[in-house]
Amino acid sequence: MPKDDGIGASTKRREDTRFLTGNGKYTDDINLRGQTHVHFLRSDVAHGRIKGIDSSAAEAMDGVLRVFTAADFDSAGGIPCGWQVTDKHGQAMQEPKHPILAEGKVRHVGDPICAVVAETYAQARDAAEAIEVDIEELEPVIDMKAALGADAPKVHDDLTSNLCYDWGFVEENKDAVNAAFDSAAHVVSLELTNNRLVANPMEPRVAVGDYDPWGDSHTLYTTSQNPHVIRLLMGAFVLNIPEHKLRVVAPDVGGGFGSKIYHYAEEAFCTHAAKVLKRPVKWTSSRSEAFISDAHGRDHKTKIELALDADHNFTALRTETYANMGAYLSTFAPSIPTWLHGTLMAGNYKTPLIYVNVKAVFTNTVPVDAYRGAGRPEATFQIERLVDKAARELGVDPIELRRKNFIKPEEFPYQTPVAVVYDTGNYHATMDKMLELSDYAGFEARRAESAKHGKLRGFGIAHYIEACGIAPSNLVGQLGARAGLYESASVRVNATGSISVYTGSHSHGQGHETTFAQVVADMIGVDANSIEIHHGDTSNTPMGMGTYGSRSLAVGGSAIVKATNKVIDKAKKIAAHLLEAAPEDIELKDGKFSVAGTDKSVDWSGVTLAAYVPHNYPLEELEPGLEETAFYDPSNFTYPSGAYGCEIELDPETGKIDILRFIAADDFGNIVNPMIVEGQVHGGLAQGIGQALLENCVYDDQGQLLSGSYMDYTMPRADDMRGFTVDHSCVTPCTHNPLGVKGCGEAGAIGSPPAVVNAAIDALHRAGHTHVTHIDMPLTPSRVWAAING
């Protein structure tokens, strides 16, 4: 049995006390003396040329301090992109400038044109209405394929076209893949859309810029998943502020799902304006503003084809995808449809030949970047929809077709044809577990019962692979990343034995304060309550890359393990001195150091006190103090996988789908806190089911956002879910990180959409509606009804 608060224990989340009692400290809770407020005047047209801005009336209004335009940022750089993709001809992607405030042109509804800073927010907003902006409207490009047309208007006049890049992966395999298709016994193909989503974290974005003229130093408080990344990007590329003069603090962050990874214009604005005005400048996004200024997610259009031999072995796979970049390149946008998507196209299968083509396209829409899963949901959706379709067309059981083509447990480590090496996995085990938990054998009886009430019941399956903890840094550098992807930790043991851990990861809801403390408590054998986790402030945490890609435990936790091991090694030397023994003979167990084979011991606090009050201490050999820092750069991704089952009832009269059961059998490697893992899966499933049935970000052909509020953008609600069966008992530990963990944050959102859609198609086919081979997400009642009756 795990200790109450060690590895494996479902310790309650210590941070929840403050969150649930309304005592979390979020960025919007920060109010500085002399603070001013900014309101951004945003474009209400998708594409236009700015002919003139008259802000004189606004500047004369009560409380207005200044109206800023692009001209105020002449000396600043653009918002940088953190990843450069090289296209299939070896050329670098087209990379347009992303100004802080629009320069010459507006390129999407929501593009900021001017910023009004006033004493109060209401004054700033009133004044913004008095600004006259003369915009010559231009024809917008919204549809990706149309954007690539020869005479399509250009989003960026200085680029050659709206094509960001045309990527081929693996380009050298292309001919072999095509040849395999030519000689295939069966070819199955599918065209599908991965619907555009808006992340909608509960906490909207906020930025507070502060400037200290006496030290010429800046502080930015911001809603970020990775404050060090913001400090690096904004300091080095936008505002030219060296790190020692720039502190970035992300206090409690209320969800992000990727949308708070990126460096945004509003952060640079508040930081810069605070210096100009010599007063703090605060911006709090409204929910409406979030819809038109937070990076969106997904938005792919794909044609995918699978070749099979006569025995139904997969022989080749090829895809052509159009990926929407929006109007500008958000921080990691180019990497999502490429390195986080193409590399996963093998799925769980032994397909020997794969070719992935991705055309990234600029359109007059909000920038698109990573959203929970980022590239991997898109890959999984394509593969798992197509495998299901193949089974249907070949008249074979979709479970058996998958099993037949799965990589077998004894074949790991497995080199895929799309560059990555899966270290461990057992897909047969997760599939079996899911079928067992879902009472698949009883499905027919349940279906017959539904039929009596006029409802169509269906069961859908998906098996996913994902890659977490993107790494190693030298490899991602070759792939175009302009950042490292290590993580850092400092473990500071205090004199009385309490421990302060400083981590470069940053929680935005994941429970790091609990999980990380469990890891350290387990390693040293002390009470987790004597350990405090600090994160989110660049002034006291070592340079870290933050939280995304399910990397916090696998990468950040590994850095903590490394630093803790260094602490233990040193503590053992101190103990050896105190116990007059050799360090090699010292054992640490349950917070006590003892000499092997004797009853001589000293407890943890005896050693820590000696480290800081070094009266009896080997000062010639060892420095006083007990504090260590470690950086961990993984040698490979981790590869969680899992089988998802979804059982639905479909009302053929209205097209409405109800999810009756959802079973997730995941292999996350070792588990530190099962309760937190379960919560992460629940959240991921809710978002995946949201994508499959409810959420859709829709622009009209003029680039107006039709789903710009909760009146039209359907957020999943509690009553859309009937509870989930979540299992993570299938464990194949990761082989290359010290905890053997794989990451669980995104899995639910990756594996669930195809399971839901497969269930709907299954229900329709079992009821004889066999003409319906695919329905694009979200499967709203109206779409399902139209498919049945179409």
Binding site: A122, D126, S288, E653, T654, G655, K656, L694, N696, V698, L706, S707, Y710, M711, D712, Y713, T714, M715, T780, P781, S782, W785, A786
Partner: protein, 262 residues
Amino acid sequence: MYNFDFVKPGSVADAVAALAGEDAQPLSGGQTLIPSMKARLNAPETLVSLTGIPDLVGVCREGDALVIGAATTHAQVARDAAADFPGLAALAGQIGDPAVRNRGTIGGSLANNDPSACYPAAALGTGATIVTDRREIGADDYFQGMFATSLEEGEIITSVRLPIPQASAYAKFVQPASRFALTAAFVARYASGVRVAITGASENGVFRWAEAEAALSSDFRADAISGLSASAHEMIADLHGTAAYRAHLVGVMTRRAVAAAG
């Protein structure tokens, strides 16, 4: 939101007087008006609150009708109409969420006449009388299309008188995001015949489905209208459903309402 003055009169007469002022507007539950003011789409100079007028709040039975004060919340109707008029109580209980039901009012809903709102279906489906500070308006004359009513400038609804049917039910198919009615049917059976009112579907707002009324008046069973279909002409088409889908739902929801009314 822009600045505005706020008054909270204690009588209908004072409210009407206050509404005679420049750019004054009644405020009831505020569930529509306040969000539109926050979005700066509406900017009255003065808000005249109706919720402090005792005469405007309450549900009471008067003969064969239920009379509901204009400022009565949906939550109160769901509770207090349950015994006399369960079909109406059920409708009120399906509006929005608990927070909305505890503030939003029947008068505000009818004055606003959102094409997807629930109460207009009940008012038209019962042939209710809309009572104002100056006159009585029959439901058939009251609804004038999307967001349009026959209320005059400064006229306030004081109560609604709904004839209690022998049987009734409201069948609502929700728009997934807003959970207003994507298409909903209110069906009421009286000794004199059956009334069917449809909300959410038409570009002209709530309407009576005459063919269904005729068929159901002679045979009040869902099957009696299984052959009927509404025309997609002038039906709303948006992100959540095509005109054809809504026309189809008119039939489905009406049949479900009839089945539920029993």
